[in-house]
Assembly symmetry: C2
Homo-oligomer: 250 residues x 2
């Protein structure tokens, strides 16, 4: 049989946030190559006899090289396997899907992408926020805090960040949050702009801290070590903006 590769978004953590299509993909897999951040409860949704290979990073520790992942995808598919590459969030949003798609295409392997809920969406839902609340935001942007060399990408246009009508979500903000918020404020972002950081969004152990553009970087250190974190900055991230009750967690 002809092998194939499915790049599948596992969503932010809560297994209920998988799509039906992702669940079906998991259940069709012969082999699953997964990030370490994918929740065990999600891996358990696959068939029992499936082969599982962890290929993701653990914190800043050792990880499988991207080229080795690409080679493994191609060689397993060439053996006729249905290979699921399971990634936290959405493969198309800071999931490095581009490199894996290109490797499969070059090898003539059919690739299907199954999108997933990205952690910004999961965090917003669990905080009870609209990322584009009409009163506050006409634009929503996702930026990686972690460029190829681990530092803030040099390409960031600060005028795009220092905008009172944008909601900015920084992925992988931990190492660079101070540099990020400092540069944003130097370029005109109000230090009073609300900000919230969420660790393990949508999991049972979700943790949050709130603050402002001026204070949030320091507070990030209080979130659990090793946890995936996202940082949301902008008027739309203000908690308790409406009088009354909090959004219920479930």
């Amino acid at each position: 049989p002809a092998g194939r590769v499915l790049l599948v978004g596992a969503g932010p953590g809560d297994p209920d946030l998988l799509t039906l299509k992702a669940l079906r993909a998991l259940q069709s897999a012969d082999v699953i190559l997964h990030d370490n951040l994918v929740a065990p409860a999600i891996l358990e949704l696959a068939r029992r006899e499936v082969r599982r290979v962890a290929v993701g990073k653990i914190g800043h520790g050792p990880s499988v090289l991207q080229e080795d992942i690409n080679d493994l995808l191609v060689s397993l598919a060439r053996e006729g396997k249905t290979v699921v590459r399971l990634k936290s969030g959405d493969p198309g949003i800071f999931g490095r899907a581009g490199e894996e798609i290109a490797a499969c295409r070059e090898a003539g392997i059919p690739v299907t992408i199954v999108p997933g809920i990205t952690s910004a969406q999961g965090a917003a839902a669990s905080l009870g926020l609209s990322l584009t609340d009409r009163a506050h935001a006409q634009r929503l942007q996702f930026i990686t805090g972690h460029g190829r060399d681990g530092r803030l990408p040099a390409s960031i246009r600060w005028c795009a960040v220092a905008d009172p009508t944008v909601t900015t979500v920084v992925y992988m903000p931990r190492r660079t949050a101070r540099a990020f918020t400092d540069a944003a404020m130097v370029n005109g972002l109000s230090p009073e702009t609300p900000a919230v950081a969420v660790a393990w969004a949508t999991r049972d152990n979700e943790a949050r801290i709130s603050g402002t553009a001026a204070t949030i970087a320091e507070r990030l250190a209080t979130l659990p070590e090793g946890a995936p974190v996202i940082l949301i900055i902008g008027e739309a991230s203000r908690l308790d903006s409406a009088a009354g009750t909090h959004v219920l967690p479930q």
Copy 2:
């Protein structure tokens, strides 16, 4: 019994792109208030006896006023009903969730948000694109082409758009695409920047056109009338960028 409101993302169109949590919410509903854009196949996933109320816009025709939707949510929940407010895509991304959340909170009604795959994610998956391909994009932004008065939001920061390292997705671009791309190019976006527009993303009748920043606005008119469309602009939207096969549709 105490009533409640669930704001649920129906995803971009393909029923398989519902989350498990959204499916469960649909099946728990006593009443569903839904946008007209929600696919019939998704509404069919609810219980047979559920009451369904269409409250969305049809094209630029008449629609239920937002305040009336808010009032209906609150009054049905006060009757003890489990009310699902079903929205295309993700309620937190140009879904006007903010106003409905605020109305429920003011009335003391518990609100749960269930995120959904937004059409940009669905379109990218079906095009076989990474929205943040490392070689091309360190930032991803979603902008509405349709402000409160139906025109381009006056708040758009053009420096954020005229950036060769961003992927820009314009929601509801049809009426304003020419103004949008013209302003982006005047502000420095290369006219050669790849662009692709997708109608009815992830549905069986999905239609696409590609072009450049200079040509895409005119080509939008060739997409089916009345269809929801998104416009993706940026190097990451270049189709056939990798040698070899296309991504398979399923």
